[in-house]
């Protein structure tokens, strides 16, 4: 099993003032080393929650109900929390947030913030034990390592095409545009030399021409470094651009997982088909999906798409389908998958 990340049967729920929302329902997902996986879906599908759960940063009111997240064979949910925090989060697994505007503190220079990151998460830093924190606070930041880190920072800033990196380090975040800030976030995600980057809608907030630049940059950098990426988006076009494989989610359940071309050309799940059909076309015809996304508080039983699905049968209501292969790496969870037309 050469999987880097393997999520199995993960369930997460949220307590809200209206009841308990079953936000993730026994999700299973795997990412291989060097693979770029897109997690697509509409509002409420759970993609952001899944990304956050892997990262271990669920907001208040969220609770993991079951399942496991295996990282290089070890279950993150059962490991010592401090170890996960020191070694995995921000180091082996890093994060690119959606909103470049609020991700950096406005009070400190970019250099201060990046070097602060390097102090704790530099790949040159030794492995700390489970009691890592106190000694590190006292130990401070040794000069030799700091210089090496700074060189690495400048290198990566050049790689993400920030002009004049030395000057950039002395500037405050508000002096950068949205596109440049996102490049900074990418740089900060790459510096710890992670094995997996989780990117949460990284180009949603950007203009389309800037988005194209960032997508291209991201694609080049991750391929160069052999980093895996878990990339959430509601924009199918960006998934098409960036990903080797696409997983589609609906109302907290994953529905289909396929290599990109197969996903877009031969979708097997009725929801995927409907989703692709509702994209605006040049011809002007517009098709939507009847019905509404169900509430996650008391969601439909079995396959959660069945109330809106043309092919639903009693089976679909009774029990959620298991995943089975359509063709090679193309897997779907459906009792009535569409045949390749």
């Amino acid at each position: 099993m050469s999987e880097l990340l393997s999520v199995s049967e993960l369930s997460v729920e949220f307590t809200t003032d209206r009841g308990v929302a079953q936000v993730l329902d026994r999700i299973s997902l795997a990412i291989a080393p060097g693979e770029v996986v897109g997690l697509v879906g509409e509002s409420g599908c759970g993609k952001t929650t899944l990304a956050r759960t892997v990262l271990g940063v669920l907001p208040a009111g969220g609770r993991i109900r079951g399942g496991a997240i295996h990282w290089e064979g070890r279950d993150l949910l059962r490991m010592d929390a401090r170890l996960v925090n020191d070694e995995i989060r921000g180091r082996a697994i890093t994060f690119i947030p959606q909103d470049p505007w609020s991700s950096l503190s406005p009070l400190f220079t970019v250099g201060t913030q990046i070097m602060d990151l390097m102090k704790w998460k530099s790949p040159r830093r030794g492995v700390t034990g489970t009691r890592g924190h106190w000694p590190a606070l006292v130990r401070g930041y040794p000069g030799a390592r700091r210089r090496a880190d700074r060189e690495a920072v400048l290198d990566v800033l050049r790689a993400v095409q920030i002009p004049e990196p030395e000057r950039a380090l002395r500037r405050l975040p508000h002096e950068f545009s949205g596109g440049q800030r996102q490049r900074l976030m990418i740089a900060m995600a790459l510096l710890p030399r992670p094995d997996l980057i989780i990117a949460d809608e990284p180009t949603t907030a950007l203009d389309v021409t800037i988005q194209a630049q960032i997508l291209r940059l991201l694609r080049d950098l991750v391929k160069e470094r052999g980093v895996s990426v878990l990339f959430t988006t509601h924009d199918l076009g960006t998934a098409y651009e960036l990903c080797d494989r696409v997983v589609v989610m609906y109302a907290g359940q994953e529905m289909e997982s396929a290599p990109t071309d197969a996903f877009f050309e031969r979708p097997a799940h009725p929801y995927t088909r409907r989703l692709l059909d509702s994209l605006p076309t040049a011809g002007g015809e517009i098709r939507d999906i009847p019905g509404e996304v169900p509430s996650l508080i008391g969601p439909p039983p079995g396959c959660r798409f069945h109330p809106r699905c043309d092919y639903a049968t009693a089976e679909c209501r009774a029990r959620r389908p298991d995943a089975h292969a359509v063709e090679g790496a193309h897997r779907v969870r459906c009792y009535h998958p569409l045949s390749a037309a």
Binding site: T16, V23, S43, S295, L296
Partner: protein
């Protein structure tokens, strides 16, 4: 009104606000039923020099004053004065301050700035001092006290409403209703005012307490309604020369003032807690759906 009942219900859950409400109701009842509750209703005007300065007892619940009149009964009638002053002064301040604040807030002209600078001037002087100055100039009487208080308190409402209106005009629904063709009058009266009502109500309640306190201060200084009007502040002033022996003479009106002001303050605080989160509650529905949204 469904809204008012809802507020009362929420208010009842807050213990200190409930205390405040009870105190205010007690005040209102005292004023309303003074003739019925008073043991010696005639003592507002009559004097009984033989019975002067008697300590509290069965006959006289709070004792008698220097004229022999029953302090308890005079306090009850004094409650009427207190309420009258409070309601009219705060009412007048509202009637002046709210429209001024709305107009200054909605329009962006030199007139708005002028109005706000004028109210700033009033706000710069401590209310008590200003009220004293005005009452002193006009002479001690009930109408003059009310006038002095109204004149010093309206800027608080003006400033508050101005700030709220300015922040509200950035709201999309105001802009879009204007784009729909609504006249400024309609916008201000039907859209802005209801949305700024909550802070106004809170301030009015707290303002009552503050105004009553200032009125008592004016009365104490002899600038209030002249004797034999049983105004609470004046009663305390009268008691000065007989302290500390005739302690009840000052304690009774002092307690009455204290309870009244505290009652309004507690009520105001409680209202603030109820009214503000209720607005956020309106967006509380968002929380459940936010789980569905950006998840």
């Amino acid at each position: 009104m469904r809204g008012a009942l809802f507020v009362l219900a929420r208010l009842a859950r807050d213990r200190s606000a409930l205390v405040g409400l009870v105190l205010i109701l007690a005040l209102a009842l005292a004023a309303l039923l003074a003739p019925v509750l008073a043991t010696h209703p005639g003592d507002v005007f009559e004097i009984h020099p033989a019975k002067r300065l008697q300590p509290p007892g069965a006959q006289h619940l709070f004792g008698t004053d220097r004229m022999g009149s029953d302090i308890y009964s005079r306090l009850l009638y004094g409650a009427r004065i207190t309420i009258l002053i409070g309601v009219i002064a705060v009412g007048a301040s509202l009637a002046i301050g709210v429209p001024v604040g709305l107009a200054a807030g909605y329009y962006h002209s030199w007139a708005s700035d002028l109005l706000m600078r004028v109210s700033d001037i009033f706000l710069a002087v401590p209310q008590v001092v200003l009220a004293i100055a005005i009452a002193q100039t006009l002479g001690p009487s009930l109408p003059n006290v009310i006038l002095a208080l109204s004149v010093t308190y309206w800027p608080w409402f003006a400033r508050l409403v101005y700030a709220e209106t300015r922040s509200l005009e950035k709201e999309v629904f105001i802009e879009s209703t204007a784009a729909l063709g609504a006249s400024p009058l309609r916008l201000i009266a039907l859209h802005v005012l209801p949305n700024v009502a909550s802070p106004i109500i809170v301030r009015a309640s707290i303002g009552m307490g503050f105004t009553i306190l200032t009125a008592a201060a004016l009365g104490f200084l002899g600038l209030g309604p002249p004797p034999p009007t049983p105004e609470w502040g004046r009663t305390i002033a009268e008691s000065r020369e007989f302290l500390p022996d005739a302690w009840w003479y000052a304690a009774a009106p002092g307690l009455a003032i204290f309870l009244t002001v505290m009652g309004f303050n507690l009520l105001g605080d409680g209202l603030r807690d109820v009214l503000d989160p209720r607005i956020r509650r309106a967006g509380g529905a968002v929380r459940a759906s936010a789980v569905n949204a950006d998840v």
